[in-house]
């Protein structure tokens, strides 16, 4: 074969592989949204779920998913940002940082059921947090950390060293250089990390069954006191998320409309993830433009 032919063949092969991936994605998205969309109604989104009779909604589960995501990010983002800055900007290349990196990788490959059971034993039982959003958020932090740390570290690394030299040669301290120059430049990458980890939080079920629980008590959305037991802001209440709800309806649901509930809930889950994804990117682009004066 001539080099020209090899080049053509390779290009075609790559195009084919990409087409396969795109087709799988389109098929999955299309199937979930098309089969779930007819079941989504205002009533479905705004009424509480019911255990036995038909016509239950997903209002509380949807809110729980979002609330859990926010709590998880509040806990995991500062931790991840700090460790990523340490690993990328301060740590030398030695056995100690190697150990940290290996530990982070091991953490990311833990099966979620194991993390769930660990969270159950430690937070739910030992620390008396009970089945609660807080227990769930801490367990999810374990998943989130490796993903966030690695992606933030990667995006900090991608900022050229010439930027660090520029800051330091201008008389900026190390920290001012990081805060004022490196972090803004790395913002788009950091945001991608948050979006990826958010997807995992939305979709996680196994770890939450043991930590955030499988029940969704009736919530009062007008009670803004996070200490009240029926307040939607109370982090100590059990909270079934959308993904857990889908799992439960499918495995032990006795409502006659279980199939349509799970189809609708799946579609809502996907749509919410898409909205979060595009929204976060739009906000990130806006911030990046504002900080960097556009292009």
């Amino acid at each position: 074969m001539t080099p020209n032919q090899t080049d053509k063949l390779a290009t075609q092969l790559i195009n084919f592989l990409v087409a396969v991936v795109v087709l799988i994605l389109l098929f999955l998205l299309g199937d979930i949204i098309l089969s779930g969309f007819p079941h989504i109604s205002w009533h479905f989104l705004t009424s509480p779920s019911s255990s036995f009779s038909a016509g239950g909604g997903i209002r509380d589960q949807l809110f729980n998913s979002l609330y859990l995501l926010i709590l998880t990010l509040i806990i995991s983002f500062p931790l991840a940002l700090g460790s990523a800055i340490y690993l990328s900007e301060y740590a030398g290349d030695n056995w100690f940082t190697g150990l940290i990196r290996t530990a982070i990788e091991v953490l990311s490959s833990l099966p979620s059921v194991v993390v769930g059971l660990f969270g159950y034993l430690l937070f739910v039982i030992e620390f008396h947090l009970g089945f609660s959003i807080l227990s769930g958020a801490i367990a999810l932090t374990f998943f989130n950390l490796p993903l966030l740390v690695r992606s933030i570290e990667g995006s900090l690394h991608a900022v050229p060293d010439s930027q660090r030299e520029a800051g330091i040669a201008l008389g900026l301290s190390n920290w001012r250089t990081i805060r004022g120059v490196i972090l803004p430049a790395a913002l788009p990458g950091i945001l991608t990390g948050i979006i990826l980890s958010a997807g995992r939080v939305f979709g996680e079920a196994a770890a939450l069954i043991y930590t955030a629980g499988q029940s969704a008590p009736i919530l009062d959305y007008t009670n803004w006191n996070p200490m009240a037991t029926d307040s939607f802001l109370n982090p100590m209440r059990p909270a079934e998320t959308l993904a857990v709800h889908i799992w439960k309806v499918n495995t032990e649901g006795v409502t006659p409309d279980a199939v349509s509930i799970s189809a609708g809930a799946s579609a809502v889950l996907i749509i919410v993830i898409l909205i979060f994804n595009f929204g976060a990117r739009a906000i990130g682009n806006h911030m990046f433009k504002k900080m960097t004066g556009g292009k």
């Binding site: 660090r164 030299e165 520029a166 201008l170 008389g171 001012r176 960097t292």
Partner: protein, 251 residues
């Protein structure tokens, strides 16, 4: 001429390998000194000693005397932030921050607590004019510095440095990544600055050194071979090595 920066017996090693074998160089206040020599002769390494940029490279040891206006640059009590404000640096690759031109130039000033908008505006105009890039960017001060050409970016970097009013400007091959026209503009800029600032420039380009430098130092394999007035060195070099290098026999 009074010397503003005196160095004596400068040795530098990366790990076990010694890269500078005892350099003595004094730099006069105001004016341009060029450091020339073939690749790997240690000229950039020496330059980076002067504002302690080599501190960033692990396992680097520097010995010798560095006297800047009566103060020891390598004294344990030296405030690096202050030092680098007084001895600023421009690099081979233009490296403006990914912010607007205005923010690039005012960055150092705002760090030191200057907030007055009018003062900042004046400094931006003064610095950009001194760096001879004002006319090209004055209508686009809020545009990202990265959207300008390489030569303009490099002059924005010079303006960013001038805004904090350093005593000494170190330039590490500032034009080697630029086209001839941009290089010529940078040279004009430097010539205009030399009456107010002490400029030390590392360059590969012998013509550049002969065009702009008052004094030139020729380095070879980590040693200083010759240091003299540029006009003298380029016409009557004292060392055979210098003559050979200037005549293109090696390098």
């Amino acid at each position: 001429m009074t010397a503003i920066l005196l160095t004596k017996n400068v040795h530098l090693s990366y790990g076990k390998k010694e890269a500078l074998h005892g350099i003595d160089l004094d730099f006069d206040e105001h004016g341009i000194t060029a450091l020339i020599g073939p690749s790997g002769c240690g000229k950039s390494t020496f330059l980076r000693c002067l504002n302690r940029m080599n501190d960033l490279i692990p396992r680097t040891t520097v010995t010798g005397t560095f006297n800047f206006k009566g103060q020891d640059i390598y004294a344990p009590t030296t405030n690096l932030v202050e030092l680098r404000k007084q001895i600023g640096m421009v690099f081979q690759q233009p490296n403006p921050f990914p912010f607007s031109v205005y923010e690039n130039v005012t960055y150092g000033l705002r760090l030191t607590g200057h907030k007055d908008r009018q003062f900042l505006d004046e400094q931006v105009e003064r610095s950009l004019k001194q760096a001879a890039v004002w006319d090209e960017v004055k209508d686009d001060l809020n545009k990202s510095a990265l959207s300008f050409s390489g030569g303009q970016q490099q002059r924005i970097c010079i303006a960013r440095l001038l805004a904090v009013q350093p005593d000494i400007i170190l330039l590490d091959e500032p034009t080697s990544a630029l086209d001839p026209i941009s290089s010529a503009q940078i040279e004009t800029t430097l010539l205009a600055l030399k009456n107010e600032y002490t400029i030390i420039i590392v360059t590969h380009n012998l013509q550049q050194a002969s065009r702009i430098a008052d004094k030139t130092a020729f380095m070879l394999n980590g040693n200083l071979v010759e240091f003299d007035l540029t006009s003298k060195m380029f016409t009557q070099p004292e060392q055979q090595d210098t003559s050979d290098y200037l005549n293109g026999k090696f390098g």
